[in-house]
């Protein structure tokens, strides 16, 4: 699929949409004042939504640990697991697929981390203080957010959206005993029917954490600030503009599983949006956004003892993009259309300081200023039937990569003398999802096909060291487009007090991209075991199955539980890395008279299917127990929430399959959260 000569060239699409917009726009002035149609039917999605909004009083009670990191929130999802390189900046995985196979967006904005070693998944550049929820779509259900194989995660920012609440504010603080994490946060909001703004900030500082048995994990400290402002102004009835600015900065972040730490990870994320309730009469919820973000990431090993060679590894990633989307409701069809595009610039370099200081510095470009252009069109159609519904969706995208830096291009030409500066592909995604209700049973099933372009590292990485398997990685600009055919099926039995769901999905991934050792190559990183090229395997297969249930014992007590099984093998039947063993979790939650409490257990079976070729060792089974207690007080008109808890009550020393280099997880941890909200 690479070097696809587009029969429908991009400029044509743009010109087409421009003339369409011109043509249609001239009608709009008269038409937009029409009334908004009633909400489209609530259709059941496979998509999961995780509520985050820490400061919101109603949600607050439901959460076991309100000021936990976003990573912990995401990990509480059934479908998301987090790969951990330390206490900070965990990398989300879905259906056992990580960043490059997922479309992760913040409020619809494409953002790409600036670290060549995936130390800054974009989820690390926002915080719970400014997020409302995380929308999670498994497989092609996530294609709305971008071209994906494994799924999509969209982190929605918290906005007052012209609710007439006036001034509100809150202050929050939390303390965690294990790593002495201090959290201070606050927010100030104003909202009326014409104008709103949300201002919030959060500060976290943590020392090294201690694994079970009081064993300190060195270089696991971190410090982070996050500020954000959101505002909106109503231009006229049903028509508003909005703007968002997020500034996120982390310093002194330790990565115990890696040989380097991070001295700076900084993101500036901004957007302006235009929203209109109707468009051309028939369309509704027209939403458009222009955005820009700038990420800088600096790795630092100056605090590490005994490094064979000191190196600086700064990386930059800048993205500008837009999207515009609208709904169209017909009698039998509920359409949703979205056009989106982004332009990303990824540049990373490495400077090594030779032991013999008379020698010149050693310099290489690890990301050769890769410019990625992507323009996509997404459409979906919900078709409701009697006690059933069908959702059809498709995404078509034009995607191109260009190596803009000659130094970098020449570097890669060492490996690929014939390589082109630019690589263009056309990415396609289709999915059909059917939902049927039979008495108390809900049956969901779907088939889909999706494609993704290789990531910057996979395509253009130059001697990227991966400490998980201790190999240097080199990208391949001629990689084939990875594609996946997947099927999913789930059955839910639902009663008011009782619900049980059994679900499974299967991905057959063609041209699966993974590192394969080339024994003829010499390592760059001192102490590395070898060099791997990113390579297309013919295929890989991934299977995930989950059984989950909920039981409302009484009004006050609720019992939930889930168990999941995962399997991933390559075309030779060998295990893929970072595939979860059998894992389970269960919780008993209590909520009555402003008191809340929970008792939960998380665990995993022994990792039977692991692959030493990818640096994996067998991870032992574990189970940890946690508990929390909360109370809400009313102080005149204001609210005070207190929440305390203990995680890993028995101080178990364990690590999960996602723990990079089997760095043990946190031992017993007591936390206390105070939140004071002024209404």
């Amino acid at each position: 699929m690479k070097a696809f000569i587009s029969v429908f060239p991009l400029k044509g699409i743009l010109m087409g949409s421009l003339s369409c917009a011109l043509f249609c726009g001239s009608f709009m002035a008269q038409l937009y004042a029409q009334e908004t149609p009633a909400d489209s039917l609530k259709l059941i999605h496979l998509n999961e939504v995780i509520v985050i909004s820490a400061g919101k009083q109603l949600d607050h009670q439901k959460q076991r640990k309100p000021l936990s990191t976003l990573d912990e929130f995401l990990e509480s999802s059934l479908s998301v697991n987090m790969v951990k390189r330390g206490a900070y900046a965990w990398e989300p995985t879905m259906n056992d697929m990580a960043s490059e196979r997922l479309a992760v967006t913040i409020d619809g904005m494409q953002i790409f981390g600036a670290c060549t070693d995936k130390m800054d998944p974009i989820t690390s550049y926002v915080d719970v203080s400014n997020l409302a929820e995380a929308e999670i779509g498994s497989g092609q259900q996530g294609a709305m957010f971008g071209s994906t194989i494994g799924g999509g995660i969209n982190l929605k920012l918290q906005k007052s959206n012209f609710k007439p609440t006036g001034w509100t504010g809150s202050l929050e603080s939390a303390y965690e005993s294990n790593n002495k994490m201090r959290v201070f946060g606050g927010e100030l909001n104003y909202s009326d029917e014409k104008f709103y703004f949300n201002l919030d900030g959060i500060y976290r500082k943590a020392d090294n954490y201690k694994a079970g048995g009081d064993k300190e994990v060195l270089f696991s400290q971190f410090e982070k600030y996050n500020f954000s402002i959101n505002s909106g102004y109503k231009l006229a009835d049903g028509k508003s503009i909005s703007a968002t600015l997020i500034y996120d900065k982390a310093n002194d972040v330790g990565y115990p599983a890696l040989t380097m730490d991070v001295s700076l990870a900084r993101a500036v994320i901004g957007s302006v949006g235009f929203n209109q309730d109707t468009l051309f009469g028939n369309f509704t919820n027209w939403e458009s956004k222009l955005y820009y973000n700038d990420i800088k990431h600096t790795m630092d090993d100056t605090k590490r003892p005994d490094v064979p060679i000191h190196m600086d590894m700064p990386g930059w990633s800048e993205t500008a993009g837009f999207y515009t989307q609208a709904n169209l409701n017909k009698e039998k069809n509920h359409f949703f259309f979205k056009m989106d595009g982004f332009y990303n610039k990824s540049y990373a370099e490495m400077t090594m300081y030779p032991t013999n200081s008379n020698e010149p510095l050693m310099f290489m470009l690890t990301w050769p200023d890769v410019r990625t252009k992507d323009v996509g069109f997404y459409a979906e159609d919900h078709i409701p039937f009697e006690k059933a519904s069908l959702k059809l969706s498709a995404r078509l995208a034009y995607h191109s990569n260009t190596v803009a830096d000659d130094f970098g291009l020449n570097s890669l030409k060492i490996f690929y003398p014939e390589m082109d500066k630019t690589n263009t592909r056309f990415l396609k995604s289709f999915s059909a999802q059917y939902h049927k209700m039979l008495n108390d049973f809900h049956i969901n099933g779907g088939l889909s096909y999706g494609e993704r372009a290789p990531s910057v590292s996979e395509g253009y990485g130059f001697y990227l060291f991966n400490s998980f398997d201790n190999h240097d990685y080199i990208g391949d600009p001629d990689l084939n487009t990875e594609s996946s055919a997947d099927a999913n099926l789930s059955v839910t039995y639902k009663k008011p007090i009782f619900e049980i769901t059994a679900g499974a999905n299967y991905f057959h991934v063609f041209n699966y991209i993974i590192g394969v050792v080339d024994p003829t190559l010499s390592t760059m990183t001192i102490g590395a075991d070898g060099v791997k090229f990113y390579t297309n395997l013919d295929y890989a297969r991934l299977f995930n199955a989950t059984l989950s249930g909920r039981y409302n014992i009484s009004n006050a007590f609720k019992l939930t539980g889930s168990v999941s099984y995962h399997r991933g093998v390559d075309d030779a039947g060998k295990n893929l890395p970072l595939i979860s063993p059998l894992s389970y979790r269960s919780a008993l939650d209590f909520y009555k008279n402003q008191y809340s409490a929970s008792l939960s257990v998380d665990g995993a079976g022994e990792q039977i299917n692991y692959n030493p070729a990818y640096g994996e060792t067998k991870t032992a089974a574990y189970a940890i127990l946690s508990a929390s207690f909360g109370k809400r007080f009313f102080l005149q008109d204001n609210d005070l929430f207190l929440k305390a808890g203990v995680e890993n009550i028995f101080d178990t020393n364990y690590s999960s399959y996602t723990d990079w280099n089997n760095i043990p997880r946190m031992g017993r941890n007591l936390y206390l959260t105070i939140s004071y909200s002024i209404n």
Binding site: K11, A21, P360, M362
Partner: protein, 284 residues
């Protein structure tokens, strides 16, 4: 109409993502034949001067490309039919010897006579190099002897090897290119001479020199897709490929093999043997 403006803004912005193009214009410029070269010597005579140019600031041990111009004072023009020849001579305390050198030709630019000399050793107060230059001017044969100073390369890198091969022949191997190494696959070029006598240094043809670049400062990191140097009769030099994966100090380990594939000098780099006895050094 406001709505229209927003649409415009969005589409214009998106259009800028894709409507980039490069414009390249190549306009020919008149070239000074000695541009970028340094005049390192000027020999004044009654009716003409001889100018000697080098890319470097002064002559160095190893391969030196040298350009010579002869200016006729009477016509104020550079001579194009001087047919110069040259002979470098080292005057040591106990002996004298010459150095490998090419012929001087003016094929590229008819006023500039180009050639190269491979100096095997530096000069000092007691041991010195002389360049004997013969040329004709207005039908008259001239000879000039110029004492030149030859220093060790300014960067201290070893780029010239004078050694005794396993066949009991003395060889001189000198690095020519790349002059400005890049992180890329570089065209590697060297000249190989054997020392037949003190005065005779014929070019060695059809041997092979293997190439194994290493970074001793990076655990002897090597690079892929290097090509061994083989003889090119057109240039009378050895050509190969040199991949350099990063800037820094590189040691190019070499092995000289004769036409029968017998190793005359140099060893393979292995875990136990981190370097060959035949090598070039470079830094960039």
């Amino acid at each position: 109409m406001k709505t229209l403006n927003y649409i415009f803004a969005i589409l214009l912005l998106s259009a800028t993502f894709v409507s980039c193009s490069d414009d390249d214009d190549n306009t020919p410029v008149a070239v000074d034949p000695v541009e970028g070269l340094n005049m390192i010597y000027e020999i004044p005579a009654t009716d003409h001067t001889v100018q000697i140019y080098s890319e470097k600031q002064n002559l160095e041990v190893g391969y030196n490309e040298i350009s010579i111009r002869i200016k006729d004072m009477a016509s104020d023009k550079y001579v194009t039919n001087a047919a110069p020849t040259w002979m470098p001579m080292m005057h040591m305390e106990t002996m004298e010897h010459s150095a490998p050198h090419s012929m001087l030709t003016n094929t590229e630019e008819n006023t500039v006579y180009k050639g190269y000399i491979v100096f095997q050793m530096p000069s000092n107060d007691t041991e010195y190099w002389e360049m004997i230059l013969n040329y004709s001017l207005n039908g008259q044969q001239k000879e000039e002897t110029l004492r030149v100073s030859v220093s060790q390369p300014a960067d201290g890198m070893k780029k010239t090897q004078v050694f005794m091969g396993a066949d009991d022949t003395r060889y001189i191997l000198a690095y020519v290119n790349p002059r400005d190494p890049e992180v890329a696959v570089n065209d590697l070029q060297a000249v190989l001479y054997k020392m037949e006598s003190m005065m005779s240094f014929p070019i060695v043809e059809n041997y092979k020199i293997t190439v194994d670049p290493r970074m001793p400062g990076m655990g002897n990191h090597s690079s892929p897709n290097n090509e061994d140097m083989t003889y090119t009769s057109a240039t009378k030099m050895y050509d190969g490929k040199l991949s350099l994966t990063m800037t820094g100090y590189w040691k190019i380990n070499l092995k000289l093999m004769n036409a029968n594939g017998e190793v005359l000098k140099g060893e393979d780099v292995t875990e136990l043997n981190p370097e060959s006895s035949l090598y070039f050094e470079l830094e960039f």
